[in-house]
Each structure stands twice: as structure tokens, then as C-alpha cells.
């Protein structure tokens, strides 16, 4: 009886879920007057247009040094903001982790900060910070920093609790002090995993930095915006291509590093 009820309930839950989803979809399409069919056909059209216009030509190559400079700015900004965020995230996660916390109060604080920062989307950070610092590299830098800080702190806390709990218990039982435990057990066990998260974050941040650059008028995002608005599609396509290549290089490099440290 009890068991049968559970299966009936599961089935009903599924029906309700799909019904709600269907209503939401149809409702949104009607309200926004989104023509589904036209949506698909315009993808094809865009593709055709892209092939005939959106490719780098000889002339656009003249812009290459400029673009590379901006690209370098974006990549370096992403790496710097992520790495500095990681340093702060290590401190916050040591305070926040159940395994290494010094007091319950600081632990709750650290977790609170992490989840607050993580739940504010990057674009919201950028917009808020723009009010304070206007369109400048600092705005983009700080937006990436805050977003990374939240994400990394949370990942680091999970890593510490997962990989070092047992060893921490053993070292505390030998009479080791707090800093002994951190440097001899927690960091050796969790650093590889932490570095892996850091690489992932750098990767994500380079992608996001492009978008943030649109908003803050800096870096490679700004280059794209500039060429696109001045209808220099060849140069704009060169920008896109370079972004893709950069991301592939970064991802390959981080996979290589990961394989070596794990």
C-alpha cells in the first residue's frame, strides 16, 4: 500500500512537471510573439550571411597587432583577478571549512560571503561596479574578482572537507598545532584539486571577460564592439577567431597541467 502510493505519486509529479513546463513555454512564445518557425529559418540565413561576410580578409590583418594587444589585456586581467581571488578564497575556505574552521561564527561568515558573491551574476557585478568606477579596466577586474572569489571559496571548502578530513584528525591526535595541520595535511592533500579549480576558473573568466569587456569598454570585448558597430565585419570576425583560438590554447594547457599534478 505504502509502496504503491510512492509510485503513483512519482507518476503524478512527473505529469504535473511536464504540464507546467508546457504551459510556460507556450505562454512565453505567445507573449513575446516569438515565431518558432522563423527562428529556425533565420539561423540558416545567418549562417549563409556569415560565410559570405564574416571572415578575416587581408585588410583586417592590419588590425592584428591592435587586437592582440587587447586580447593580451583581457587574458592577463582574467589570470590576475582569478589568481588573486584564489589567494583570498584559500583564507576564506580555511575559515569556512568544517575541518579547519577556528570558530563556528567565522565559518558561517565565510560561507555567507561565499554564497552571496557566488549568487550575484557577473553581469550584475559589472553593472554595479560601473556605477562606482565607470567604464575602466578596474571595473572588469573587480567584477571577475568578486565572482571568482565566491565560486572558488565554495569549491575550496568542499575540497578541504572531502580530501583532508581524516588526515587532519590524525595530525590533531598527535598533538600537532593548527598551522602544522594546515601546512602538513590540508594543503598537501587539497592543493592539486584547488589548482584544478583555479585553472577552470581562469578558463571561464577569459570567456566571461570578453562579455564584461562589452559592458566596461575594455579589452577584447571592446575591440569586437568597435569593429562590429563600424560594420568592419572582417576585423570583427578576426576577433572572434582569436578568442576561440585563445580559449582552445588555454584549455589544452590547463588539461596538461592537470594531468601532471593529479
Amino acid at each position: 500500500m505504502q509502496q504503491a502510493d510512492i509510485f503513483v505519486k512519482r507518476r503524478n509529479d512527473r505529469w504535473i512537471f511536464f504540464a507546467v513546463l508546457a504551459v510556460l513555454t507556450v505562454g512565453s512564445v505567445i507573449i513575446t510573439r516569438y515565431d518558432v518557425l522563423k527562428g529556425f529559418t533565420s539561423i540558416v540565413k545567418a549562417f549563409v550571411w556569415g560565410i559570405s561576410n564574416f571572415y578575416p580578409d587581408i585588410e583586417s590583418m592590419a588590425k592584428l597587432p591592435d587586437i592582440l594587444l587587447k586580447l593580451r589585456e583581457t587574458v592577463l586581467m582574467s589570470i590576475a583577478s582569478t589568481t588573486i581571488a584564489a589567494v583570498f578564497a584559500i583564507l576564506l575556505s580555511l575559515a569556512g571549512s568544517r575541518t579547519t574552521r577556528m570558530s563556528r561564527f567565522f565559518s558561517v561568515m565565510a560561507r555567507g560571503i561565499a554564497s552571496l558573491f557566488r549568487n550575484i551574476p557577473l553581469v550584475a557585478w559589472a553593472m554595479v561596479l560601473m556605477l562606482a568606477f565607470s567604464q575602466s579596466p578596474l571595473t572588469g577586474y573587480l567584477a571577475l574578482f568578486f565572482g571568482s572569489l565566491g565560486f572558488l571559496t565554495r569549491s575550496f571548502i568542499e575540497t578541504i572537507d572531502e580530501v583532508s578530513h581524516d588526515a587532519v584528525e590524525a595530525l590533531e591526535a598527535t598533538g600537532a598545532g593548527y598551522f602544522h595541520v594546515i601546512f602538513q595535511a590540508v594543503l598537501p592533500s587539497s592543493l592539486p584539486q584547488m589548482i584544478s579549480w583555479l585553472l577552470f576558473m581562469i578558463d571561464t573568466n577569459i570567456r566571461d571577460a570578453t562579455l564584461v569587456g562589452f559592458l566596461t569598454g575594455t579589452g577584447i570585448g571592446f575591440s569586437f564592439d568597435l569593429y562590429y558597430k563600424s560594420m568592419n565585419f572582417h576585423a570583427a570576425s578576426l576577433v572572434v577567431m582569436l578568442i576561440v583560438i585563445t580559449i582552445i590554447i588555454i584549455e589544452t594547457a590547463s588539461n596538461m597541467i592537470r594531468r601532471n599534478i593529479m
Partner: protein
């Protein structure tokens, strides 16, 4: 007997531990232990064995009662003195609790951290003497070929021997073992238990060993303490304890454990 030797090394007086308000994990436990004894604590799962062991070195704080080690009431110790106390009490775990990514020698030397200043410990600076002692113990435990191997490359039995070595470099007076053989096959289990027993005999170290297997306890111990639902239900030497008496005291689970472990040992 001189009065000195008749003083117990460890004494528990009315130890009570509550994790929540309703049921105590330890309910009024008292016993005392003489220097050099090999003692097993047996009891079904959840009976409070691990809690009891951790109350001794204050990895868990008691709710009330007193733990007295070598004449010192442990609950009154401040941080620094608590660290000093813990250097005198080694601990061995079911899951070995090593830093898997570090080498055998590094893990063994962790046993010296309790004696170190903050800076020396953080940087992992050990004296020549400490290193020599670590190597000596590693050799005794038959790990000389693995000294510079990472611990995640070792077998379970080898890992447990690293755990034992880490406890031994502390120069402890007592070693607490929380189910040291529960993750091991019968063969390695026997090696580890023989090792613990001979260390106890030869170095005069007191052992308190949590065990699931009643007949391992019967075979190796000078004395067996039984707990059930946080209460001390049994305390005596192995020859005073028949199978019936044990299962009488803490239910049918004992019989199951007996036959189970007897088979394991017959096979091993």
C-alpha cells in the same frame, strides 16, 4: 608492589557523553588501566567505542566525568598542555588517515609535529635524530623498500604499518586503535595484530584497541571491556569470558561476530 607502579596510567571516572539531549553515547563509564596492558574494547556498531576512545585524548570533549592520564586530569588542560598530552598518546585508525599524496617518511615524521615549534612544523624541518628514529621504526615495521613511495601506492596493510610508525615516533606511553583491522583482509589483519601485540610487549606501550571481532579480542588481549548502548557491560580477562557469557551480556550480535570472525581466521 610499590605505590608508584600501582597507580593506573589511565583512569575514567563516570564519563558521560551526550551528542544530543535525548540519549547518551556514553553513560557513566568508569574503569582504570595499568601501564603496559593490552586492552580490547568490543561492542556492537554504534555502541560508543569510537566515542570512548576519542574522549581519552580529547578529540571529543566529555559532557561530564573525568579522564585522568598519568595523574593529569585531561579536561583541565589548556591548549598547549593538551598538545603535550597528545604527544604521549598515539592513535591508529580504521582508514589509516594518512596524507595520501605524501611519502611514507613524511607521513611517519608527522608523528613528531606535537613536539615542534610552529615554524619548524610548518616548514617540515626535522632534526637528524628524528629522521634516524623514523627510519629505524620504518625498518622495524618492514617498510624499508617503501620509504620514499607515496602512500596512495601502498596496500592496506602497508598503510596501516605507516600509521603505526607515525604513532611510534611520538614515543607514546599509550596507543589508541580504532578498529585497526576492519579494512584489512584476514592475512594482513593477523600481521597487524601480531605487530601491535609485540610492540606492546617489547616497548611496554599500553594499547586500547576497538575491535569488532570478538575472537580476535580473546586471542590478543590481557583484558576485554565490553560496551553496549554507551554502557560498560563487561570487563575481565579473556579466560574469564566464555562465548556464552559474552553473548549473554550483549545479545545475539556477539555470536554472529564470533562465527564470522572465526571463519575469517580459519581461512587466514
Amino acid at each position: 608492589m610499590t605505590p608508584e607502579t600501582s597507580n593506573p596510567l589511565l583512569e575514567l571516572k563516570n564519563v558521560i557523553k551526550y551528542y544530543n539531549r535525548t540519549t547518551p553515547a556514553l553513560a557513566d563509564i568508569s574503569f582504570s588501566i595499568m601501564d603496559g596492558q593490552f586492552i580490547s574494547i568490543i561492542g556492537p556498531s554504534g555502541s560508543g567505542k569510537s566515542t570512548l576512545l576519542r574522549c581519552i585524548n580529547r578529540m571529543i570533549e566529555v559532557s561530564s566525568g573525568e579522564v585522568c592520564f598519568d595523574g593529569v586530569i585531561t579536561s583541565q588542560l589548556k591548549k598547549r598542555d593538551l598538545r603535550k598530552l597528545r604527544t604521549k598518546i598515539g592513535m591508529i585508525f580504521q582508514h589509516y588517515n594518512l596524507v595520501d599524496r605524501l611519502t611514507v617518511i613524511e607521513n611517519v615524521l608527522h608523528g613528531r609535529l606535537g613536539y615542534k615549534s610552529t615554524m619548524a612544523g610548518v616548514l617540515g624541518r626535522y632534526s637528524q635524530e628524528e629522521k634516524m628514529q623514523a627510519h629505524r621504526i620504518i625498518n622495524i615495521l618492514g617498510l624499508h623498500d617503501q620509504v620514499y613511495q607515496r602512500c596512495d601506492q601502498l596496500s592496506g596493510g602497508q598503510k596501516q604499518r605507516v600509521g603505526i610508525a607515525r604513532a611510534l615516533v611520538q614515543n607514546p606511553r599509550m596507543i589508541l586503535c580504532d578498529e585497526p583491522i576492519s579494512s584489512l583482509d584476514p592475512n594482513s589483519s593477523k600481521i597487524i595484530m601480531d605487530l601491535l601485540r609485540s610492540i606492546s610487549r617489547e616497548m611496554g606501550i599500553t594499547f586500547i584497541v576497538n575491535l569488532h571481532q570478538v575472537n580476535v579480542a580473546l586471542k590478543y588481549s590481557d583484558r576485554i571491556i565490553g560496551v553496549n548502548k554507551g554502557k560498560l557491560v563487561l570487563d575481565g580477562s579473556p579466560d574469564q569470558l566464555t562465548t556464552e557469557r559474552i553473548s549473554d551480556i550483549y545479545g545475539s550480535t556477539a555470536k554472529d561476530l564470533m562465527t564470522d570472525s572465526e571463519e575469517r581466521y580459519a581461512a587466514g
